[in-house]
Every structure is written in C-alpha cells, then in structure tokens.
C-alpha cells in the first residue's frame, strides 16, 4: 500500500434503476417502446469515505446496500451519478479500481471447494496480477491475517462456514488493497465466528486500510464503524458517527412496555404516554399493546407510565429499559424496524 491523499470513496448522486420483467425477442425486433416498469434500487446516494476509516452502510434487506456496493465494486454500472474509488472513476477506469480494491461480496460459495485454501489464493493472486515473486509472501500474509495458516492445505470443502468466510476475507487481501468492500460479511455466521471476523476487520484498519461494509446488524455497525450511513429505499436517511446518530433522537433510554386492557379505539393512553416520552412504535396483538418509547430518563418515565395506564383502566405487564441503539435511530427515521 502507498500513502495517498483524497477520499477512499466518493459517490455523487448514484442512481441505479432496473426494469421489471423481460422484453420478448418479438418486441425487440419490432422496436416496440420499452414499457416495462422501472424500479429504483438506489435513488441518489452521496457518499464520502475517508481513508483509514471503517464506514458502515446500515439498512434492512432490500434497502439498496448491496446494489450500492456493487456499483462501487464495478460489478454494476450506475444508471446515473458518479463514483470514484481511490481517485479513479468506477466506470471509465474500472480495471484500475479493481487492481486497488479487495471485495467480499458473497459467502463461502464463491470459493472453489475442490481446491485447497492456498490453491484458491494462488488462483486469485494470478487474477489480481500479483507478480509471481510476491505471491507466496502475499498469500502467507493473507492467511496469517485471518488465522488460517495452519489449514492452508486443506480442501475448502472441509472448512466450516466461519473458516470459509475468513478465507473469503483473505482472498480480498491478496491484492494488498487500500480499500476493502465487505457486503454483509458476518451473515450466516455463529456469534463466535462473527466476533472473530469483526476482530479481523478491526485489524485491517490498524494496517491503514479503509473498510466500507454493509450490514443489517445494528450491533455490528455500532461496534465496528467509525461512521455509519443509514440507508432505506435506496436513499441515505442519516450519516454520522454511531454516537451522534443516537443523539439525534433526543433520548438516552428506550422503554418497551406491554400493556393489557388498553382500550382499542380510545387513543387516550398512547396520548398520555406521549406527553412524558416519545412513542416511537406501537403494535397491538392478541389484546396486548406493545409500545417503544424514547425518553431522557426511564426513572422518571416509568412511574408516569404506570399512572397513565391505571387512569385508563389498563395494566402494564412488562417493562424493559435499554440504552438507545441504532435500531431506535432507524425506527425514528423511518417508522420501521431494521429487522422487518
């Protein structure tokens, strides 16, 4: 890696539209107008990722995270807008971008199972144009970085899921990239393996690399990332450090209540509770009203909540007090949960 200036990733007005359905050969031959419905997976994304940071893109499934990442990785051409990776345009200088970047866009299925880990990396080293004289050292370093050096000569088909995911990360390190793009790197992993992988990602930063990762796990984004962009329906709805994002909802604690006997049609209880806190979410199921409330102090809010419930003839069955999370930030911004 060489020192350089300028942001690692710069995207301006990135848009990606897809057409739904297919045009038949007959329609094409007759040059009929394309009347297919168009769907915007990414709807104008602006992004600036500084060198040396771990930047997270957090959003639910279908928000446009992977589509955005694929455009930055040159696998997908934007419909409009522009993006530069390490100063190079992703469309006009795509090969140059690929030379300098490592990416993890899929899981262990993207490895060759009938090859050993070392053979997989040798193959990709050649594809990444790593000079033969450097390959051995580069492979050894990549395997050591993910703690797979002792299993390097085993067939990938014998690896566990966690090991394959680590090998996929090792592969991304082969070109000694300044920038790593990781798409949902811990999905499908057990908690221990996920923790291991996150530790490896942190080590990437200490090596001076920039990491841009997507995730729908808010704990992962919270723990790992220096800054986070929250994405929903193809747009960035918020962008800042995790602490700053949590401060935006003007609350320090979240109280979750389950209330029995709350009148169905009378909004009085919710209105009362709204006077002492901010009702972020309400849901009624099997006669139980579930509320998520943001407040400055649970110690002040909870007694007031009990009073309000009593006044309306309802009973609070369950109280849970938790710290504000990015989930709550997402809820406040979009009205939906990350996991829906």
């Amino acid at each position: 890696m060489t020192a350089a200036s300028g942001p690692a990733v710069e995207a301006i007005g990135l848009v990606k539209e897809f057409e739904k359905g297919r045009r038949t050969l007959w329609q094409r031959l007759r040059r009929e107008p394309d009347q297919r419905e168009r769907f915007r997976a990414v709807d104008g994304i602006d992004l600036l990722v500084e060198r040396g940071e771990i930047f997270g893109v957090l959003g639910p499934n279908g928000a446009g995270k992977t589509t955005t990442l694929k455009m930055l990785a040159t696998l997908l051409e934007p419909t409009s807008g522009s993006a530069r990776i390490l100063g190079r345009d992703v469309v006009r200088e795509a090969r140059e971008v690929r030379r300098r970047m490592g990416a993890v866009l899929s899981d262990g299925r993207s490895l060759y199972w009938k090859l050993t880990a070392r053979e997989n990396l040798q193959y990709f080293a050649a594809l990444y144009h790593v000079p033969p004289g450097l390959q051995k050292a580069r492979i050894a370093s990549a395997l050591a970085a993910v703690h797979l050096d002792d299993r390097a000569d085993d067939y990938v088909e014998r690896y566990s899921t966690g090991m394959r995911q680590r090998l996929v990360l090792a592969r991304a390190l082969i070109p000694d990239p300044e920038l790593l793009l990781l798409d949902e790197p811990t999905v499908g992993l057990d908690p221990q393996s996920a923790r291991d992988l996150r530790d490896r990602v942190r080590e990437m930063r200490t090596q001076g690399r920039t990491v841009l990762l997507t995730t729908h796990y808010m704990e992962e984004a919270d723990q790992l990332c220096d800054r986070i962009a929250i994405i929903d329906h193809g747009r960035i709805v918020a962008l800042d450090t995790p602490a700053a994002l949590k401060r935006t909802i003007a609350a320090t604690e979240v109280v979750r209540l389950e209330i029995q006997g709350a009148p169905m049609s009378d909004p009085g209880l919710v209105a009362r509770l709204g006077q002492v806190g901010s009702v972020a979410r309400q849901e009624r199921q099997n006669g139980v009203l579930s509320l998520t409330i943001h407040c400055r102090s649970a110690r002040d809010f909870v007694p007031a909540a009990f009073d309000a419930a009593r006044a309306e003839g309802a009973t609070i069955d369950h109280v849970e007090v938790v710290a504000v999370t990015l989930e709550d930030v997402f809820l406040a911004l979009t009205g939906r949960e990350l996991r829906e």
């Binding site: 997908l76 090969r95 866009l105 993207s110 990709f124 594809l127």
Partner: protein, 277 residues
C-alpha cells in the same frame, strides 16, 4: 509488465486451476474418453458394420475415397472434441460458475472476463487433445483404425481450428451469460456444429439447405484436411483453398467473438445479472 503479458499469465492460472480441479474428479476424466466411445464411436462402427460388404466399408469408399471406417470416425472425434471444448469448457463454464457463486468474484478482479475463455481454451484443449490421443490409440489397438504418416501435416490445421474455437467460445459464452437456461442451447448447438462439420459423416449427405453452412464452419476444413492427410480421402475443395478458408474463418470468428463478448460483458454489468441463476 505489459497488460497483454499480465492477461496471458492470468489465462495460464485459469487453465492451471481448471486442470487441477479436473484431476480431482478422475471419473470425469475417464468420461472424456468413455463418452465419445460409447455415445458415438461404437454405435457408428456397429452401424457401419451392418452396411459392410465382405468386411469392407465399400459405401464409404465410394463417397470419400477410403474404406477405413474406424480411422474416418476416430479422426472425426478429434475435431468433435475441440468443438465440445468450445461449447462446454469455454462457454458453459460461465453458467457453472454462476450457479456455484464464483462468477461475480472472478469478475471483481482486474483480469478481463474474456481471458477466462482463453484460459479454459488452454485447459479444455489440453484435456481434449489428451482424450483424443487415447481414443486414437484405442482405435488403432482394438478397432482396426489405421492412420498414415501424413497425420502430422494436419497439425497446423488443428491448431487453427482450436483458435477458431476460441471465437466460437466467445460467441457461445455470450449466449450463456444472457440466457436464463442455456443448457439446451449449448447442447443442441454443440451437436449441430459437430454434425454439420462432418465429424460423423461426409458433408455431401447433408440436406441441400444445410450444406452451405458446412462450408462456413472452420471445423469442416479442419476435419477434412485431417482425413485427407491421414487417410488419403478425397478433399472437399482444393486443399490450398481449404487452408485459406480455415485461416480466414478462424481470424474472423475470433475478432467477431471478442466484440460480441465485450458487449455482453457491458450488458451484464448494466443489468447486474452476474450473480443470478
């Protein structure tokens, strides 16, 4: 290092990986020899035996100038194997990679996707040549095939044919990347290409409306020259003209194939369909 040199090195790495994987499926290697034998050669030889008079293929002799039925068929398989390499190794492998999940990852590298066609041409070509050598050995040992010394004179024709198959590989790979279910397309066009080239029978027996197509395929000239030199069969055209046609068609196919493949690659990146299957 120059860009071309980097791509060639990557092509060799691709070929090496394919060969390594092939060696780890030894039964698949056996199939490379067994399948042409039982699916084509044996049924064809037995059909020929049912038409023989006094143990001689006099009918074939009247059409082509040789009664060496086994030699005729075994040499056809050499070119048939090359055709199969283009369709299945060079082209259909993209579908296999897509299904398994490795295609996107390989296209993330700076190696051009078209280099994968070249890499697989190398590995597929080596396996095909190896299998053909074994088959010819079997033909000579067990099936009364004979081939003359002139066989070696036809080697440049085989090399040119292999080069033209790279062009075909680009074209078929483009179709494989676009079609949702390319299996039937690849299977059917592979079969038709080989048959129309005269791998299994003299081109003269083709229906009148298909015959002109045979003259547009480089493999027609490759297999004909192979038989002319090795068996002394009557050539389709003046051999000098056949060499010229083979050279021109091979160059054309490579040039056109590359253009089509690059356009397809662009289309795939626009549509984002690399990871789908």
């Amino acid at each position: 290092m120059g860009d071309q040199a980097l791509e060639l090195r990557a092509a060799w790495a691709i070929a090496r990986k394919e060969l390594l994987t092939a060696l780890r499926y030894p039964l698949q290697l056996v199939t490379e020899v067994a399948q042409p034998l039982y699916q084509f050669l044996i049924p064809a030889l037995l059909l020929g035996a049912s038409l023989a008079v006094g143990g001689r293929a006099i009918g074939l002799e009247s059409m082509t100038g040789t009664d060496n039925l086994a030699g005729y068929l075994f040499l056809g398989v050499v070119v048939g194997g090359m055709v199969g390499t283009a369709f299945w190794d060079m082209a259909f492998s993209f579908k296999r990679e897509m299904d398994v999940g490795t295609l996107e990852q390989t296209w993330l590298s700076p190696t051009r996707p078209e280099t994968f066609v070249l890499g697989r041409a190398i590995s597929g070509g080596l396996v095909s040549m190896g299998a053909s050598a074994v088959l010819i050995g079997l033909g000579l040992a067990f099936f009364d095939a004979t081939v003359g010394d002139g066989l070696w004179l036809a080697l440049p024709a085989l090399l040119l044919a292999m080069a033209s198959m790279v062009g075909i590989g680009y074209l078929v790979a483009s179709a494989v990347l676009i079609l949702r279910e390319p299996n039937f397309f690849v299977d059917a066009t592979n079969f038709l290409f080989a048959m129309i080239s005269g791998v299994a029978f003299p081109v003269a027996v083709l229906p009148w409306f298909i015959k002109p197509v045979a003259y547009l395929l480089p493999t027609t000239y490759a297999v004909d020259l192979l038989r002319v030199y090795a068996l002394g069969t009557d050539p389709l055209l003046d051999p000098a003209l056949e060499w010229l046609a083979l050279g021109i068609l091979s160059s054309l196919l490579i040039a056109v194939g590359r253009v089509v493949f690059r356009r397809t690659e662009h289309r795939m990146r626009m549509r984002g369909t690399l990871g789908q299957h």
